[in-house]
């Protein structure tokens, strides 16, 4: 009896858990097949998400970046929103092209920003690939296992890069190197796959733990 009282959604905390459980079952039901129960929660999910984003959109962006500077008297900002509203012409046959002016700004900006992205993302990776001695000499103090790893690094890198060339036919040696590159690629992909299985299983375990422990109140381990 006590168990039942504590099990039923009679407090806010229990209600929270019950809603969570219903949501979980609704989502999991698609594993069997698409069904009205899932469809109901899918539509609710999208509706909630769309509604939720309005708050941050209006307050954290429009108010903060547009209304606030205007109230402080920075008049130049007043042009931004009417300009951005040109975007809303996309549904119009006649004025549709005006939205492309705004899109042009967005495309130009993302192109211009890509230089910095390239420099801060790819270049450090290039830099850190440069100091890899391939043999022990009097000038360096690499250990032999590092030498081995460095060889692997260079060979793998170059053969995968070779696979990713497009403007000439892969023939002879190049073809063979590219094939190896493809195999090395598969090693990398397999490693990523194996590593992710664990994380995703852990997520599912977390959910099932929620069902067993929080909802059904079965004690598991230490707490």
């Amino acid at each position: 009896m006590d168990w039942l009282q504590e099990f039923l959604p009679l407090s806010w905390e229990r209600l929270n858990i019950w809603i969570g459980v219903i949501c979980t079952f609704a989502i999991y039901s698609i594993l069997y097949r698409e069904n009205p129960f899932y469809r109901f929660f899918e539509h609710m999910y999208i509706g909630l998400a769309a509604g939720y984003s309005l708050g941050p959109l209006l307050v954290d962006i429009l108010y903060r970046y547009w209304v606030e500077p205007l109230t402080q008297g920075f008049w130049a900002w007043s042009f931004v929103v009417p300009f951005g509203l040109y975007l809303y012409f996309i549904y119009s046959e006649r004025y549709g092209w005006l939205s492309r002016i705004v899109i042009g700004v967005l495309i130009g900006a993302s192109a211009g920003l890509f230089f910095q992205e390239f420099a801060s993302r790819q270049l450090p990776q290039l830099n850190s690939a440069l100091a890899k001695p391939l043999w022990q000499t009097s000038n360096n103090d690499v250990v032999i296992s590092d030498v081995l790893n460095n060889w692997i690094f260079i060979v793998f890198l170059l053969s995968v890069l070779t696979y990713f060339t497009f403007s000439f036919e892969h023939r002879g040696v190049v073809r063979r190197v590219a094939t190896f590159g493809r195999w090395f690629l598969m090693i990398g992909l397999g490693a990523m796959f194996g590593n992710t299985v664990m994380a995703r299983t852990a997520l599912l375990i977390g959910r099932i733990y929620y069902l067993l422990h929080d909802w059904l109140r079965i004690s598991i381990g230490g707490g």
Partner: protein
């Protein structure tokens, strides 16, 4: 025209995926409930983690940065619990901080529960400093002026009234930071911490691979990898926790997946053999 029943292996190859889903689900439920536990082999990063905390003195101050929420509960919760057990066993004072509300609530609740076991007094021996959306700004702020950055704890008590923070000017007054996280927050601690602050890291398993460079260079002193790391740590502390259960559960799911993959391959070869033979 089907003249004979399809062979077992042909049926295995065309198995309904829902049977697989059920297998996985049942497998996890069973191993969550069954007390089957394999002993873990302690990995060097976990051993180093343990030794680093062992070296702390009674009364030292530690920052626990707990940033996980419901999704990664199976990996991060046992880590946080084991770490808190160790800190309190060493009679070390600590404060907790998070980057978002859910992480704050979870870590606060867990710390309250464990504190009760050890007779830790809130405000005097430990405190929860709430959440900080921008971690870089928070770390930088705490490095220059901690009270001004924190202002108040999770319950709204001003910093000046928290005994645990008495005399603390900046993050440099701390001995150590322990980052329990599913995301890439550790490099931020490494880059922006004050000199000499020890960093310990409790990532989820996917994030662990990227951390080895930091371990090799000594910027991170120890690491617990996901539920497996928590299990190793529970073993070191000789406590019964959920790390062992979750790690075993993940492990047996892996075994299940590997076994079915192998069976699938055997079935493929047999089916091919039958067709050719």
């Amino acid at each position: 025209m089907q003249t004979r029943q399809p062979a077992v292996w042909d049926r295995m190859l065309a198995i309904d995926r829902r049977i697989l889903y059920l297998l996985l689900f049942v497998n996890i439920v069973v191993f969550l409930l069954l007390p089957v536990q394999l002993k873990a082999v302690i990995s060097p990063p976990a051993r180093k983690f343990y030794n680093a905390i062992e070296k702390l003195q009674t009364g030292d101050l530690v920052m626990v940065s707990s940033n996980w929420s419901a999704s990664t509960i199976a990996e991060n919760k046992p880590q946080l619990e084991a770490v808190l057990h160790h800190l309190m066993r060493k009679k070390v004072r600590f404060t907790i901080m998070s980057v978002e509300a859910q992480a704050r609530d979870l870590s606060y609740r867990i710390a309250q529960r464990i504190a009760k076991e050890y007779g830790y007094e809130y405000g005097k021996d430990w405190a929860h400093l709430g959440f900080y959306v921008n971690l870089i700004v928070a770390i930088k702020g705490m490095t220059t002026d901690l009270p001004a950055t924190v202002k108040q704890d999770v319950e709204g008590t001003p910093v000046s009234q928290l005994e645990v923070l008495k005399g603390v000017r900046t993050l440099a007054d701390y001995k150590m930071v322990i980052d329990v996280t599913p995301s890439g927050t550790m490099p931020l601690w490494v880059s922006y911490r004050p000199k000499g602050l020890i960093v310990l890291f409790c990532p989820t398993s996917v994030m662990a691979a990227e951390a080895y460079t930091f371990l090799d260079s000594g910027q991170v002193e120890g690491m617990l990898t996901g539920a497996k790391g928590a299990q190793e740590y529970e073993q070191l502390l000789k406590i019964k926790g959920q790390g062992a259960i979750f790690a075993n559960c993940i492990q047996f799911s892996h075994v299940l997946i590997i076994l079915t993959i192998l069976l699938g391959n055997i079935a493929m070869f047999l089916s091919r053999h039958a067709r050719e033979g």
